[in-house]
């Protein structure tokens, strides 16, 4: 996973403001991740899960998403994608603290972000189950002839082993649906390395079997990610059908606060990947290219920390849903099955 570091930054159509937004998203992801793990250590939340290593991929992909038009069908590791399409750190923290004001009312695990307003579909913890939903949503878009709209559907590489993944890609291909399947390949599915998940380790190569385009890209590079995802989304939006993308990245943290990754991988392996950490890399590239000054970066970091602190405090101060809320939204209307 070599990342290009040339002074002459090829912006692939992004303007400087967008580049700064991408970078700010990456900083915010990392800050929020840190905060989650910190709060867990402090005993304030029973569970947290980080996306460190996925920042560039997610910030770049989110920049290709059209707010108010596209639909995102994410998975639990998509903090940066959800921020990038419009969720606020406050909403993220409401999810972490499971407060009543959370989109899910504190019902779901943290990181299971959904927001009808932001175009983020609701998903469960059951891996791959959201992928047919994304396909169904893409079908609705195509059926209503809403050109200019597409669905971006993500999952980890481990999740591509599920039968529902296969069925979904096949159906989307048959119907040439406006959807991009973005696989975030971080080389691990909890403790299971890619070699135990698939005999040939390049997920994108399965695309040909479905008769759709497939591509692998460097997910540590947000600009390449943006350009690749945008090309695929543009194709989807204009009737060109689905694409299977595979962004290469790495999971720097343990799977979650419940996991100890040192039981199955070595410090050295993690350290080796840390050398290509996309956050400092991208910072260096932007500074080198004059998109940001060192002072800008420092100010941005301060700002991101402040926003995270503020979101944490505000969310923490919010109430839980009362016990009666256990009984709402089972069905619409009057029938109360527990009576």
């Amino acid at each position: 996973m070599a990342v290009k570091t040339s002074a002459a930054l090829d912006k692939r159509g992004l303007n400087d403001e967008q580049l700064r937004q991408i970078f700010r998203n990456m900083l915010l992801q990392r800050q929020l991740d840190n905060r989650g793990f910190q709060l867990n250590r402090q005993g304030k939340v029973p569970f947290a899960l980080g996306s460190e290593g996925h920042e560039a991929l997610q910030a770049g992909a989110a920049m290709a998403f059209e707010r108010g038009k596209d639909i995102l069908a994410p998975y639990y590791r998509d903090l940066g994608l959800c921020l990038g399409v419009g969720l606020t750190p406050y909403e993220i923290m409401l999810s972490l603290f499971a407060r009543a004001a959370d989109h899910n009312g504190g019902r779901q695990f943290p990181n299971h972000y959904s927001s009808k307003a932001a175009g983020i579909l609701s998903f469960s913890s059951i891996l791959a189950a959201h992928i047919p939903h994304a396909v169904g949503a893409a079908y609705a878009i195509k059926y209503r002839q809403e050109t200019g709209r597409a669905v971006l559907c993500t999952c980890g590489e481990g999740t591509t082993s599920e039968g529902e993944w296969h069925e979904s890609l096949n159906f989307a291909a048959v119907h040439k649906l406006p959807i991009v399947f973005l696989v975030e390949n971080n080389l691990w599915a909890i403790s299971t390395p890619v070699e135990k998940q698939m005999a040939q380790p390049e997920v994108w190569r399965r695309a040909a079997g479905y008769g759709i385009p497939g591509k692998r890209f460097e997910g540590f590079d947000p600009i390449e990610t943006y350009a690749t995802v945008k090309e695929a989304l543009d194709r989807a939006r204009s009737g060109g059908g689905p694409t299977l993308l595979e962004g290469m990245c790495y999971r720097f943290l343990a799977h979650s606060t419940d996991d100890n990754d040192m039981t199955y991988r070595t410090k050295d392996e993690v350290a080796e990947h840390r050398k290509s950490d996309p956050v400092p890399r991208f910072e260096a590239r932007l500074v080198e290219a004059g998109v940001l000054s060192d002072a800008d970066v420092a100010a941005m970091r301060k700002d991101v920390l402040h926003e995270t602190n503020d979101a944490t405090d505000r969310a923490e101060a919010m109430p839980f849903a009362p016990a009666e809320e256990l009984y709402t939204h089972v069905y619409e209307g009057a029938w109360q099955p527990w009576q």
């Binding site: 989109h103 019902r107 469960s124 047919p132 949503a137 079908y139 059926y143 159906f171 089972v330």
Partner: protein, 338 residues
């Protein structure tokens, strides 16, 4: 598209169950272009029972989707369509093939509203033919209701008469939540009846007293309602008066109708084709034992399919599995005489 019918009056038509399903689906397709039918062989073949015959010509392949053979995604894609504003009607060709979609029904469709705190909903219907007596063997005969009736967030209906098929299928299509719509395939052509013209719904969750009586309450659903009615007729001559309740909806279940019947007759016989242990009859019985125990003059009895995996293909193995009207009459007689 004309619906086949043998008799027609100003306000109603005689049709069988399969015609009632077909006519109702047709009207739903006509009246709302958010309605999408998807499943295996629903297009050119018009479904294996010809329920959607010619629909593809009239409504186009975008609305009548011949899916690949992949039940998990048939349901899962319908969930996504429903979340995004369409009103999908997914078909599982035979109920026996619903197992691969269990995750999408139980884990996803039934929990979408709940887990999103009401932000997302899942208004969809899953239709499927179930039940035996058609030489369908191990995998074209099963009853599946008990595998799903425990699931909050889901509704389940299983009508027995053509008019109920129409009213409940309309209600299912209009329902803002996922509904599993079970069609007993043996009744498809066997059972005919008057069906009111025009759009109407029958509320999901209301049972129907299809025959009033005084000495025994029988609760059943699907094919066995008809066989139970047949049995009661033979008992009439013996002066035995049996009340027959057609459950119609399995979840929600109409407690009130069952309880008030039992309070009157003081005896309860539950009859279903599905296996006994953990079947629908278990909940009915438990509910009555909880709420009307001291109204009972006899132990509750369940006449159900035996606890073996399935009826066999060979005729003796199918017949041995099913309860005959004669066996039902015997059970009724015994209970009344208790």
């Amino acid at each position: 598209m004309a619906v086949t019918s043998s008799e027609t009056t100003a306000s109603s038509q005689t049709m069988n169950n399969v015609e009632a399903v077909r006519a109702t689906l047709y009207e739903a397709m006509k009246s709302d272009d958010r309605t999408i039918i998807l499943g295996e062989d629903v297009g050119a073949r018009g479904n294996v029972f010809l329920i959607t015959k010619d629909f593809i010509d009239e409504f186009g392949p975008e609305r009548v989707i011949d899916t690949p053979i992949a039940e998990a995604s048939i349901v899962g894609i319908a969930v996504g369509m429903a979340m995004e504003g369409l009103r999908p009607i997914a078909e599982i060709q035979f109920a026996d093939f619903i197992y691969p979609s269990f995750n999408q029904i139980v884990g996803e469709a039934a929990k979408t509203r709940y887990r999103s705190n009401g932000e997302y909903t899942c208004p969809m219907v899953i239709r499927t033919p179930y039940g035996g007596g058609v030489r369908g063997a191990l995998s074209h005969s099963v009853s599946i209701e008990a595998l799903f009736y425990h699931v909050p967030g889901l509704k389940i209906v299983a009508p027995a008469f053509p008019a109920d098929v129409k009213g409940l299928l309309n209600a299912a299509i209009d329902d803002p939540d996922p509904v599993l719509f079970l069609e007993h395939k043996k009744t498809y052509r066997l059972i005919k009846g008057d069906v009111p013209k025009g759009h109407y719904t029958i509320p999901i969750g209301e049972a129907n007293v299809v025959r009033p009586g005084t000495q025994l309450s029988v609760v059943s659903y699907g094919l066995y309602v008809h066989w139970a009615l047949e049995a009661t007729k033979s008992l009439e001559e013996e002066g035995i008066s049996v009340e027959v309740i057609d459950l119609r909806s399995i979840r929600p279940m109409d407690k009130a109708t069952i309880l008030s019947s039992v309070e009157k007759t003081r005896k309860l016989l539950i009859i279903h084709e599905d296996n006994k242990f953990g079947g629908i009859g278990a909940e009915i019985s438990a509910m009555v034992a909880e709420e009307a125990l001291f109204h009972l003059d006899a132990p509750i009895r369940r006449l159900c399919g035996p606890d073996v995996p399935a009826m066999g293909y060979a005729q003796p193995l199918e017949e041995a599995f099913m309860s005959s009207p004669a066996q039902m009459a015997d059970a009724m007689r015994e209970m009344v005489r208790f």
